[in-house]
Symmetry: C3
Subunit: 417 residues, 3 copies
Amino acid sequence: MHALVERLYPLCRSITGDGVRRTLEIVGESLPLEVHEVPTGTEVLDWTVPKEWNLRDAYVKDPSGRKVIDFTESSLHVVGYSTPVSATLTLDELRPHLHTLPEQPDLIPYRTSYYAETWGFCLRHETLAALPPGPYEVVIDSTLADGHLTYAEHVVPGESADEVLVSCHVCHPSLANDNLAGVAVAVELALRLAERRPRHTYRFVFAPGTIGAITWLAFNRDRVGRIGAGLVLACAGDRGSLTYKRSRRGNAEIDRVMEHVLRASGRPHTVVDFSPYGYDERQYCSPGFDLGVGSLTRTPYGAYPEYHTSADNPGFVSPEAMTETLETLWEAVDVLERDRRYLNLSPYGEPQLGRRGLYGSLGGRSDTKRDQMAMLWVLNLSDGDHSLLDIAERSALPFPLVADAALALQSAGLLKE
Amino acid sequence: MHALVERLYPLCRSITGDGVRRTLEIVGESLPLEVHEVPTGTEVLDWTVPKEWNLRDAYVKDPSGRKVIDFTESSLHVVGYSTPVSATLTLDELRPHLHTLPEQPDLIPYRTSYYAETWGFCLRHETLAALPPGPYEVVIDSTLADGHLTYAEHVVPGESADEVLVSCHVCHPSLANDNLAGVAVAVELALRLAERRPRHTYRFVFAPGTIGAITWLAFNRDRVGRIGAGLVLACAGDRGSLTYKRSRRGNAEIDRVMEHVLRASGRPHTVVDFSPYGYDERQYCSPGFDLGVGSLTRTPYGAYPEYHTSADNPGFVSPEAMTETLETLWEAVDVLERDRRYLNLSPYGEPQLGRRGLYGSLGGRSDTKRDQMAMLWVLNLSDGDHSLLDIAERSALPFPLVADAALALQSAGLLKE
Amino acid sequence: MHALVERLYPLCRSITGDGVRRTLEIVGESLPLEVHEVPTGTEVLDWTVPKEWNLRDAYVKDPSGRKVIDFTESSLHVVGYSTPVSATLTLDELRPHLHTLPEQPDLIPYRTSYYAETWGFCLRHETLAALPPGPYEVVIDSTLADGHLTYAEHVVPGESADEVLVSCHVCHPSLANDNLAGVAVAVELALRLAERRPRHTYRFVFAPGTIGAITWLAFNRDRVGRIGAGLVLACAGDRGSLTYKRSRRGNAEIDRVMEHVLRASGRPHTVVDFSPYGYDERQYCSPGFDLGVGSLTRTPYGAYPEYHTSADNPGFVSPEAMTETLETLWEAVDVLERDRRYLNLSPYGEPQLGRRGLYGSLGGRSDTKRDQMAMLWVLNLSDGDHSLLDIAERSALPFPLVADAALALQSAGLLKE
């Protein structure tokens, strides 16, 4: 996963343009992707697909001809969606177009201006402080013209048409945790799912933030009813602990699944309520859709000092952290796949487990007592009202133990689906 | 407000009589009042309007002719509803009629005997301790006879016939916090409301405790269905922090409004559950009526040492505390007036706020980020199920910010009522 | 109660056989019992009544003829349901049949093997450690043959056919707290109830654990609908604090009653959620029955070191603890008997209590203020939706005070049932 982050990192992504296309090509080497190109001007919900932006080169040369700002060093140096410029300007004339972080003087900030036409450069505050008065040769060789918005989907088909959505934004330029780590973890999750032949269908959406999710929703209004659960995946690789942000509903299936998995895992984590800010859960959870979609991150957006700066580089992303994020997702998938309601076929009194070899059947394992408790709980609560996840929560037993107990009981003819 | 407390303080009020009439005359100088006179013997719910009590003079003279107890010094000196007396008694004969506070020897207690005919004096325990054996000339020049019970109403008409009730008891003699401060704050609130031209109709009831509220309820049985919210206002001026006591229902509109306002205010405060004791919320919340009426006090009845003693004098009441009580009420009025449910007209995805100038429209203020969050919350939750108060509570944003955001969105055509 | 524990203690009980019969005969000296004999092979729910087991003698003699294990010393020495043995064995041959507690070397464990035919002895680990190689004369003079399962019922008839169930297991041999203390407390409770002439009918079931409860349920499937509340009573005499385990429903009447009684008592106690393990609440709360049956113990099963060892002897059981358990049960009975919904006949405003002498009627008691509060609470909440227990819980007043207030109000014509 970390290699994919490193490979994608240098590309100059934005909400449209060749950086996104190239990113999706590279992802497509691992996963077959259905790539969609939506023309500029297309109306999508309350929005309109904007012009496509591409950037060939950009720099600021000082009087000696030295590039004091050079886009090839970092894609963050240019304000996203900057209009073309070719001019000679004094520092005073240039300064309103320069963005720095005075409190983090050695970092380049990330800035965009999608919907107000302007141009600008982002640079280290310490670089700015050392600039002489000029004049400077200022070049942004960009195009902002009719074109397309690009997004992609990958589907892992399941037995059922019910869908689980995993959505990642792919519009940020050279930022590793936000959101190349999310993309890399999603790719790995999709590969694992393909081996599992799942019950649910899993749909991965790789799209620019906001306008991309809105475009996807606009093109899939009739299909969103199939989405039973979903996750927006972002900031999946920093060294902070996991954070699950609930869906707008607060008690959707994904909310219960993620909270159970995180609690049972023993991993440090935080669960926070929905708020209409953050990543594309804002769109999926808008009141007209109100999907059961939460968000999984490690440290949330804006809550780490490297956020939206050049310090969010591949070194900020830890392979171990991405693996932990992936394992957590896999545990959630396991619950989504295995959760169901059973009916105890012998509900009057306890059935005699010993006669059916069910005490012995699990006797060799060290957690026999917990296995037996799991069987007793499944029998006691399989009344048609309780799912296996309900049982795991009420019994405070891990879901897999409960699900295994249900399988053993089903094999013995004591449960039916 | 404090001047009104001082002016009303010396009057000898009781549940009937000229003290109440004079009190209402003085209140009537600020607010037009509709004064009701209900004859003795009138049946009101389970009760009967009692005889009217008036007191012209009362004293106890020692053998030297000095008044050791003198009603003109404090109206507390006479037990409320004392029958007439004119007798010469030894201290031993007098003593069963004398009430003191041995643990607060320098204070005069407040005592009444509305429904058992007797007479008595209240005095400082230290005065009692110094009394020689007598004999004493004992005079209570009172009348207890058929007459009327007096109460008054003031109505601030609103656009709607829905009513908000504010109820104050006016039966306590020279006690300042309990309840002249409540009366004074209610008067000021009514004056402010008149300037606002409110949506709801506000009804102020100034009535004797218990029998007055019962009388009002008896005469307004058909009208109480209009009361959507209400407050019993008492002990509004002491220096303790605010206390809100919930209605019997516990989650009535007034309960949610007061709890939100108090929490958002940052003022120290306490919220307590309903109990069938205290002030006239007992009557408004009796099970046959079960009105959404709570009670706002500062320190609750009985919980301050000055309660029902001569130490509850105008000096015990602080202008700042009355102002704070008034401001809290005004904030509650603001919620009652502005709370409503809107419908997001663009509920699929977020509407593009930038295009409508809604990011900029509030950009000059220092809390721009909170304004934007308020707009996002209002859009996200305006699904017909959530009121602005619901949104303020879920977002933990102050109600006025949420209501202002709703107005801005409504102006932009994104919300409708 | 302690004398009964001591008398029953030496008997060799099991899930069938003469030990249970003799136990029930002794209980029957205090209470008339209906004894049921259910033949081996009878199908009961998912189970089958097993063969009857009886034990005449059992010992292990060392080469010198000394009995190193002697059943007459303790009924725990023989594994319950041991098949007959008469053999000469070396220590190595014998050892697989010997059960000890290495961590409690001076205690004899309690072991059974109801459904797998085998034999064995239980002994102190320190005894085992001192045994020479043998050979040993090994004798278990038992019979395992068609016979009966024995259980008994005692009914205290009430005005209503609604039943309260009290269930005790009677299958453990020489173990005092588990469950002779439970049996002794149940006997005393039944005697007290007979004097009370209760509203509900109280049914006491004395049956072997698991198979006995299952048998009773099988024979009473049509009757269980009458059981409105119930308790499994066990471990009623150790010196630990009381533990109430909720029914599967969690908010059944018995749950609310027991929690109120324990909280109001001021006694140290613990309330735990239902789990499908423990005593016969497992059967009564199986999903097909789902009865409102909780469990009252002192220290729960398995949570004290004496559990299922020879240290659970009559000295482990305290008369004071049994009395406290009984008093707690009696307080619960009082709530079950007296709880009901009243209707306030004067629900508009407070009725005038003084006129009816209701302030005075209780005036002589030291807790007059609490009595008055109880009356006000009963009046305020007697709207048809709240029972006296609801009122006691909401008011945080003890149930008897609330029930007495309701009686006084009913006598005054202010309440009706």
